[in-house]
């Protein structure tokens, strides 16, 4: 993107934020958050991280992976990454995995809590903006976390996330459709990746699919703005500034919601604002084993359950 186009985009973002802020002026919390994110948006943008070369979907079983399914844990207007120490400062989030995640979470506090995940040693925290239908919050059925090597990345080069790594994928302030390779909507286990929520048939409910970056700078567990330490690989390679291949986390939030997508919105704004957050508070030894045995050896260590829920 040229600097002129970037400046125009920046202007558009500012304009959009003004619109969002004024439309939400009755809720002081939203105004404060918008202002906060307005500042950080000018410093960092989700777009700096790049995007995968294409949406990642299709039959399971072609490449090494491990998969963790985590039923819904809890909902809080907290964001341990963006608003640490500020309970209630965020839009509503739905949390999966770690049962203790909140605004005051630290790596140590997370490690002291249990998990909703079927893999008891996955005590990582995953969260996404809550989804509303006609202003009623929808309780997700579960999340599915797929861990794989990035597209065309040599799986043997992938190493585990460091303990405490924090990252965000997707743009909570997006005002235009995001790349489907980063944020997409789908139905059930289907392979179609849409930029807008489709009308899903009953029994194959709506999903929000967020793909995290798979290149790390090798240094920072987090940075101001929460973006600069991570990048997406392209053509199987990480940039020299972010040379460490880490797993590509594809995080899918599954709802039972089916039917007309009109009336849906995310807590962060409209349906364009899909994003998700991750803090690596896995049992680190277990995570390193999963990466070593499943990803580096390119073995399918599991596929998603045929169970709808529970």
């Amino acid at each position: 993107m040229t600097s002129i186009r970037r400046a125009i985009r920046g202007l558009l973002v500012v304009l959009a934020l003004v619109v969002v802020a004024s439309s939400c002026a009755s809720d002081p919390r939203d105004v404060r958050e918008s202002a906060h994110d307005h500042v950080s948006m000018l410093v960092d943008s989700a777009a700096v991280m790049g995007a995968p070369d294409r949406p990642i979907a299709g039959p399971q079983g072609a490449v090494g992976q491990f998969v963790v399914e985590c039923p819904f844990s809890h909902a809080l207007p907290d964001d341990p990454i963006v608003h640490p120490g500020e309970p209630g400062a965020s839009h509503m989030h739905v949390f999966f995995g770690n049962t203790g995640a909140n605004a005051d979470s630290t790596l140590a506090s997370l490690l002291a809590h249990g998990t909703t995940c079927e893999q008891a040693l996955d005590t990582a925290s995953y969260w996404a903006p809550a989804l509303y239908h006609d202003d009623v919050m929808l309780i997700p059925e579960k999340s599915v976390a797929y861990y794989r090597a990035g597209l065309e990345v040599d799986p043997a080069s992938v190493v585990a996330f460091p303990a405490g790594l924090s990252m965000i994928a997707g743009d909570p302030r997006a005002v235009e459709p995001q790349p489907a390779s980063v944020v997409a909507w789908s139905c059930g286990n289907g392979a179609a990746r849409e930029q807008m929520p489709p009308s899903c048939p009953s029994g194959r409910g709506l999903r929000l699919d967020v793909t995290f970056p798979d290149c790390w700078d090798g240094d920072h567990l987090d940075v101001v703005g929460h973006r600069e330490h991570m990048r997406y690989s392209s053509g199987g390679r990480c940039p020299s500034t972010h040379p460490v291949h880490v797993p590509q986390l594809i995080f899918s939030v599954a709802y039972s919601f089916a039917g007309d997508p009109m009336g849906l919105k995310l807590a962060s704004g409209g349906v364009l604002t899909g994003h998700a957050d991750f803090v690596n508070s896995w049992d680190q030894d277990k995570l390193e084993d999963e990466v070593k045995y499943c990803l580096q050896r390119d073995v399918v260590c599991g596929v998603t359950s045929g169970r709808v829920s529970g």
């Binding site: 893999q119 073995v299 599991g302 169970r307 529970g310």
Partner: protein
């Protein structure tokens, strides 16, 4: 064939004998003093000498995982009776992990751990003579293995599958039992050719007794019992995993009965398939022969289409049916515009004995394709009802089928109504709390304490198919 097999297994063994240095920490087994047992528990290849390393749990290693991590190829891990709350990961080739008593060596996932055993990309690993229960995923699981064996295993109340091999070839599952899984008790998935045998197993009170998604090619299911599941034996095709369509499985000499069980945990497919004994759902070139099948609400043996709504790829044509799994993995999928209907093609249903299957003893159905174009044939079965009527006259084996053999529409199977039936079928019961038969006390592996370690050869035992007769009815 036989001599080749022996030669091959001897060469495998000699390699593993050289490769397996004795572990410093391992105890020497008393069994090294006794002569090799003449008849090992399986007719998998016979070891020529006792393995050197025996690692005892908990005497030498406090946990099974510690013993597994310390073991080298050819070693035997012997587990004493007790309850082990572990999820064991196995990554070392050619080790044998054995319980001293099938019914009292208990792996308990406590609804927290995912797999009792997960063998990851390791080949030749055999697991014997123990029980795994309460795992959120699977009791016993091999993936990416070339050579695997499970013998005298009991899997009870596990969240996905009881005993499961995925993307693995060269396997034997035998003398085992699986109950209480919402998906399948026994599952071999994503392989072609699979080169695997399931024999002398019992599956009950699962969503499906057996599921074999996209698995086939020298895959034999024989002399086993599938009863009181939602549905009995259900191989199927689907593009949600690789190596479709499901092909070339031989289902022979099994007792399949009363698969109408309403109170099991069940995935959607199990609810849809409920009330069928052997349901070929979009599989091709399978042979279903000399089974005894009785007491089902729908079909005893049904060849039906598999509806895949969330399809990931288009259905490969007939010219791709010989493509092996490794080659298919290299192909780029093409997302289809709508749902797929995987029809059952070119299956043979021969010499089965069926009774009291309320919709039809034998049946073939589609949803839009002319049945004679599917090439499925039926011959020498003992039955009283079929769909369409006079099915053996309409579709004899050995000659091309045509519209002119009779009225294909009379009494035909309307599988579309099954989708409606599924809406009102008894819903799934939570796998964690479903009512199950008590864990049965089952036959132990002979000489568990002293039998030598026999790693899993990549070649399953040869099965003398010609000698198999229709088994008797169980009352």
């Amino acid at each position: 064939m036989r001599s080749l097999r022996t030669l091959f297994s001897l060469s495998i063994l000699s390699v593993s004998m050289i490769a397996c240095g004795s572990s410093d920490e391992s105890a020497v087994a008393p069994s090294t003093e006794s002569p090799p047992s003449e008849a090992p528990a399986t007719d998998a290849p016979t070891t020529v000498a006792p393995a050197e390393g025996v690692l005892n749990v908990p005497a030498d290693y406090a946990t099974i995982q510690e013993a597994v991590d310390a073991a080298a190829g050819g070693d035997l891990i012997l587990i004493a009776p007790g309850t082990y709350r572990e999820a064991v990961q196995v990554t070392t080739d050619n080790i044998v992990i054995r319980g001293l008593d099938r019914n009292t060596v208990i792996m308990d996932g406590n609804f927290e751990f995912d797999n009792g055993f997960r063998v990851v990309g390791a080949s030749g690993v055999a697991i014997e003579n123990m029980t795994a229960m309460n795992y959120t995923k699977n009791g016993f699981f091999w993936t990416g293995s070339n050579g695997y064996r499970g013998s005298y295993l009991t899997a009870w109340r596990n969240g996905d599958y009881g005993i499961y091999a995925f993307d693995s070839v060269g396997g034997l599952l035998e003398h085992s039992y699986a109950a209480g899984s919402p998906d399948a008790g026994f599952y071999i998935g994503q392989c072609f050719p699979c080169d695997a045998v399931i024999r002398n197993v019992i599956a009950e009170h699962n969503g499906l007794g057996y599921s074999g998604t996209n698995a086939g090619g020298n895959l034999i299911i024989v002399n086993s019992v599938f009863r009181n599941n939602r549905a009995g034996i259900v191989p199927n095709s689907g593009s949600y995993e690789l190596c479709y369509p499901q092909r070339k499985t031989t289902i022979i000499g099994n007792q399949v009965y009363s698969n109408n069980q309403p109170d099991t945990p069940a995935i959607d497919v199990a609810i849809l398939a409920m009330g069928n004994g052997i349901l070929n759902a979009g599989g091709v070139q399978n042979v279903i022969e000399r089974n005894r099948v009785w007491d089902h609400d729908k079909t005893g043996i049904g060849l039906v289409p598999f509806l895949e709504e969330d399809a990931n790829d288009v259905i490969p044509g007939r010219d791709a049916w010989e493509t092996d799994c490794a080659a298919q993995k290299q192909l780029m999928p093409v997302i289809p515009d709508g749902p797929l209907l995987w029809d059952s093609h070119d299956n043979e249903v021969l010499g089965n004995v069926l009774e009291d299957n309320r919709r039809a003893d034998i049946a073939v159905g589609s949803a839009g394709t002319n049945l004679w174009e599917l090439g499925n044939c039926f011959e020498d079965n003992t039955f009283s009802t079929s769909a369409p009527l006079d099915l053996e006259t309409l579709a004899p084996c050995g000659s091309p089928l045509s519209e002119s053999t009779g009225d294909w529409l009379a009494g035909d199977l309307n599988v579309i109504t099954w989708l409606v039936d599924a809406e009102t079928a008894p819903p799934s019961v939570d796998w964690k709390t479903a009512s199950l038969p008590d864990i049965p006390q089952l036959e132990n592996m002979p000489d568990a304490a002293t039998a030598p370690a026999t790693p899993a050869s990549a070649v399953p035992p040869a099965i003398d198919l010609a000698s198999i007769v229709v088994p008797d009815k169980i009352d």
